[in-house]
Structures are given as structure tokens and as C-alpha cells.
């Protein structure tokens, strides 16, 4: 995804001379071509996320279209007040890019874990929050974010994420149908989309066919798609690599709470706990039961529960 981001940024910057990129001293060699081609429109702000965000705000005020880039935990947590005061408050079109979202850097320890980024950014009024699932979704969403009149946050991964095919277009604010089905809906965000699809394929062989949606846009929530699912499915299984508060499951739960009739919501994802022990990401997902096997298992339970009823 990081490569897709860098390539996409190059293309966009070639077509829009107001695009300017700031990094918090991260992305070694990833943005060399951008720097070479666009010179002063590349700024290494140093290990100073607060300053990077303030400078981006000032640039946006003067008519530039800045993107600020750091590891997701630093981009959103270290500079949270700067984003709140200088970007959200004046509602400026700055794109905050969080690389290595979720537990991309699982084994690097708690400092590098970004399981609060979607919540932190969603809390801010006027902020658009997206977590694309693969390189294609990054490439499709980035230009849409740059069309916005206000701020946005994009959580991206690192490299080597699985890609997937789907006919549905990648439309900001719209859940993307990845696989048709019935009775149970699997709703993923971020790079768990491919894991969720893997689970769906396993289930298909067993004659279980959940509908799969990728909610790359966490805010604003696509309630229209959720409303369409009412009456069509009995269970929504939300899969997220994020703390249990303030992510996609919270948003879907809030939508659910306001309705008399709506499907049951099941959440799969990390608990409200620190991920200690320098585990690798796969182990973490396995232990916290949101890997493909766990998703398939949760789906079977919902499916058979329906058959018993």
C-alpha cells in the first residue's frame, strides 16, 4: 500500500501543482522520486510531528494541498492537538496519512501500534476517515480525498498486502461489495478485507455464503448500505484491527442502536488491551481471534444459529 500511495501521489502531484508533501522523517527511499521531481514540494519536517501538522495547516491556508505522512500512531496521536486545532478547527483540506495502521508494526511494540487512529480521527468534526484494504483502494481513494474541501485521514499499511478483485467501484463514503451472499454480512475495514475474503472462500466450500462488504470509509459511515441490509441479513459481523471503542464496530453499533429492527452486530477484533510480547501480526490476529479461521468460525455460528431458529 505504501508503494501504491507513493506512486499515486506522484501522479496526482504531476497533475496538480498545489499538492505538497510533508513527512515526519519517514519513508526512506519511498519518496525519492517525488523529491527529485517536485523539489520544494517535498518537505522533511524532521521528527517533529507537531510542527509538520502546523506547517501543513499554514500551507493549506495559503492555498496548497498538503499531505502529512508519518507512522499512524505518531501521525494521529503525537500530533492530535495540532490536527484538532489547526486542521479540524479551520476545516482545512489537509490529508493526514498514517502508515503502518493497526498492528502493521506489531512486533515493534506498543509505541508503534495504531489501534486508536480511526477513533482519534473520527472524533474530530468534519474529518473524513478511510482505511483502504489494498493497493487498488489506496490508488482509488487518494484522489477522492484530495477533492474534499476539508480534512481527511487515510490509514495505509506497509508493503506486500494481499490484493483482491471486486467489480464494485471504490467510492468514497460507500461500502464496497466484495462478494455477494445472504443471511450473514461480513463487514471489514482496512487490510482485513483480504482476510475476510479468505474466510468467505473457506465458507463457500461448506455451502455458507455470507455477503462481504469492505467499509474503507469509516467516517462518514455508509448507513444507506447498512439500511439495505436490514431484513436481508440477521447478523452483521464487523471485522476491524482497532480497539473496541471508536472504530468501525462502534459506528455500526451506534447505527444499530437507533433502529427498532436491525441485525445483530458481532465484533471481531482486538480487545481493549495492550498488545504486549512483541508478537508478529499473524500470531496476534490468531490469539485475539480475528484471523481468517476465527472469522469463518464466527460466520458458521451465526449461520447455524439461524438454521436452528
Amino acid at each position: 500500500m505504501r508503494k501504491a500511495f507513493a506512486d499515486s501521489l506522484l501522479n496526482l502531484a504531476a497533475g496538480n501543482s498545489r499538492i505538497i508533501f510533508l513527512t515526519g522523517d519517514l519513508g526512506f527511499q519511498v519518496f525519492d522520486e517525488f523529491h527529485a521531481r517536485f523539489g520544494s514540494r517535498y518537505i522533511n519536517a524532521g521528527i517533529a510531528e507537531a510542527q509538520m501538522v502546523c506547517a501543513a495547516a499554514g500551507l493549506a491556508k495559503e492555498g496548497w494541498r498538503p499531505l502529512v505522512y508519518s507512522i499512524a500512531s505518531f501521525a494521529t496521536g503525537r500530533a492530535f492537538e495540532q490536527i484538532r486545532v489547526n486542521i479540524a478547527y479551520p476545516h482545512l483540506p489537509v490529508v493526514v496519512v498514517g502508515a503502518g495502521g493497526g498492528y502493521t508494526y506489531a512486533s515493534s511494540g506498543v509505541t508503534h501500534h495504531a489501534a486508536e487512529d480511526l477513533a482519534l480521527m473520527s472524533l474530530l468534526p468534519g474529518m473524513t476517515v478511510v482505511a483502504p484494504g489494498d493497493a487498488h483502494e489506496v490508488t482509488e481513494l487518494l484522489p477522492q480525498l484530495l477533492q474534499l474541501g476539508g480534512p481527511s485521514y487515510i490509514r495505509i499499511g506497509r508493503y506486500g498486502e494481499a490484493t483482491y478483485q471486486a467489480d464494485a467501484p471504490v467510492e468514497l463514503g460507500r461500502a464496497r461489495l466484495l462478494r455477494p451472499g445472504e443471511q450473514v454480512a461480513l463487514i471489514s475495514t482496512g487490510d482485513l478485507a483480504s482476510v475476510t475474503l479468505q474466510a468467505a472462500r473457506q465458507l463457500g466450500a461448506e455451502g455458507i455464503h455470507p455477503v462481504v462488504y469492505q467499509m474503507h470509509t469509516v467516517k462518514p459511515l455508509d448507513t444507506a448500505t447498512l439500511d439495505e441490509l436490514v431484513g436481508r441479513v440477521e447478523t452483521l459481523i464487523v471485522v476491524e484491527e482497532h480497539g473496541p471503542l471508536g472504530g468501525l464496530a462502534t459506528a455500526v453499533g451506534t447505527w444499530r442502536a437507533a433502529r427498532r429492527e436491525a441485525p445483530r452486530v458481532v465484533r471481531l477484533g482486538p480487545p481493549d488491551a495492550l498488545a504486549l510480547g512483541s508478537l508478529d501480526r499473524e500470531t496476534l490476529r490468531h490469539r485475539w481471534e480475528y484471523d481468517a479461521d476465527a472469522i469463518a468460525q464466527a460466520c458458521r455460528a451465526a449461520w447455524s444459529g439461524r438454521e436452528r431458529g
Binding site: 510542527q51 502546523c54 499554514g58 493549506a60 491556508k61 479551520p90
Partner: protein, 297 residues
Amino acid sequence: MARERQMAVAGSNRKTTQADRDWLARKARQVRATCVQMAHDGREGHLSSSMSCVDVLVALYYRWLRISPDQPGDPGRDRFILSKGHGCASLYAVLADRGFFPKAWLDLYARNDTPLGNHSCIHALPVLEWSAGSLGHGLGVACGMLYGLRLDQNPARAVVLLGDGECNEGSVWESATFAAAHRLDRLVAIVDENGIQAVGRSKELMGHTSLEEKFRAFGWYARCIDGNDIQEVLQALEELPIGQGRPCALIARTVGAAGVRFMEDQVLWHYRVPSEEDLARALEELGELPIHKEQGS
């Protein structure tokens, strides 16, 4: 002495007349009277902070800044950011007096639905360059503005007024580093060094270290001045090495609530709201009416 020599060598192109000096001094007294009236009417304190920087604001807004109330959005205008947002009463007074908005609005200070909040807000008052309230943001934002302006070959300058207490914030020094690294030499930071913070004295909280030396160590031009002497402020502004590769800092030594003796240099007057009696006493000492209470205003 050293400074006087330096000024003599540098010389001054400024031709001041006694009438001009008197006019500016009177303006400063009127702005102070306005601040006390606004604090009293709006039941909102921060007089220490808003009055310490009046002379700096008068020097900037009546003489040095390239701005015009007729074209407040002119791309070539100088950008002024009040980063110590709690001192905004004096900025409002100066902006109203310069015609950026009606003087009658000063009566609305700190009321519900006001354009003039007790921390400045660009949504409420779009003629401002920036909102303020939380400290340690303005300098970094000005860095971004100037970086962008330079790319556009726009020669505008940016002035940021900070508090000395504000310089407790680490983000100020991230910004100072960035400004030097990117040679933002049209940036002017003015620190209103009134020595008073919300619940203490700046010197104690900063370990008796020098802001001037710190800015120099960060690669800036830096100079200490008497921030309550309008002529000295103007002289220092004109002698700034703008466009010579380094950002510029003026450490303006001021007195909290300067200009009204019974309020001066007391932590108490950081928050205290003046009573009816305080107001009358202050106006009498200043010998001027608030800007929005003058006849014909």
C-alpha cells in the same frame, strides 16, 4: 550601551516627529482603556496579557505591517498571528480602530454569539489570519504560510506574537528548528516577555534562562528590546534583517498590564475581572476614553 552603538552604526531611516510619537503614545493609552472597558463589560479578565503587548501591537498595526482594511484578503498582505490568544482584547481594539470591523462590536466582547470571543476564532471573525487559544501553535502555522508564500514568490512577511509562558511549549522549539532549517527569513517572532503566567512567574518556570540566547542557539537573529517603548519597538522592527537567511525574533520585555499602575506586574491580573471601581480608576489614570466610547465612534 552596546545596543546604542549598534543602532548608531545601523542608522535609522525613520523620521519621527514629536507629534507622531505623541500620536502613537495616545493611541496606546486608548487601546488600553478599551481593553479595561471590554474586560469589565464582558466579565473576562486576561488584562495582564492583553495590555502588556499593546505597544507592540500599536507599532505593528499603525506603522509596520503592510495591511489594509480596504483589502483585508490581499494576497500580498503581511500575515499577523496572535499566538497567545488569551491576549486578544487588545488585538480586537486595534483591528476595530484600524477599520477592520465596526467599533461597536467591541461591546460584544465575550458575549454569547459574539464575533469577538475571549479567544480569537476565524469562524466568528474571518478577518483574522488564525484562531488561537491553545498555546504553541501560531509559530508553526506561520512557518507553513511562509513556506507556501515563498514557493509562490510572494514577498509577504509573517509576524507571530507569542507569550513568554507560551515558550514553555515544546512545539514552539520544533517550529524554531523548522524555521531555521528552511531559512524562513521573512518570519518575525515577537515574544511578549511580561514575566507572568497563569499561576506563576515565567523566569522561575524557565529556570532563569534567556529566550534571546535560545533563539540564537536555534539559528535565529534575536534581540531584546523594551516592549513597552513604541519607538524602540519600531526601531527594532525596522532594523530586522528580513530576507537575509535567518528568521527573526524580538524578545519584547514588557510589564504585565502595562500602563495602569495598580494592575501592573501582578499574577492576580492574569485572570481578574475589573470592578466598576477598577474601571473608573484605570480610565482616570489613562486619561483616555475607550475607542468605542468616544464621541462619533
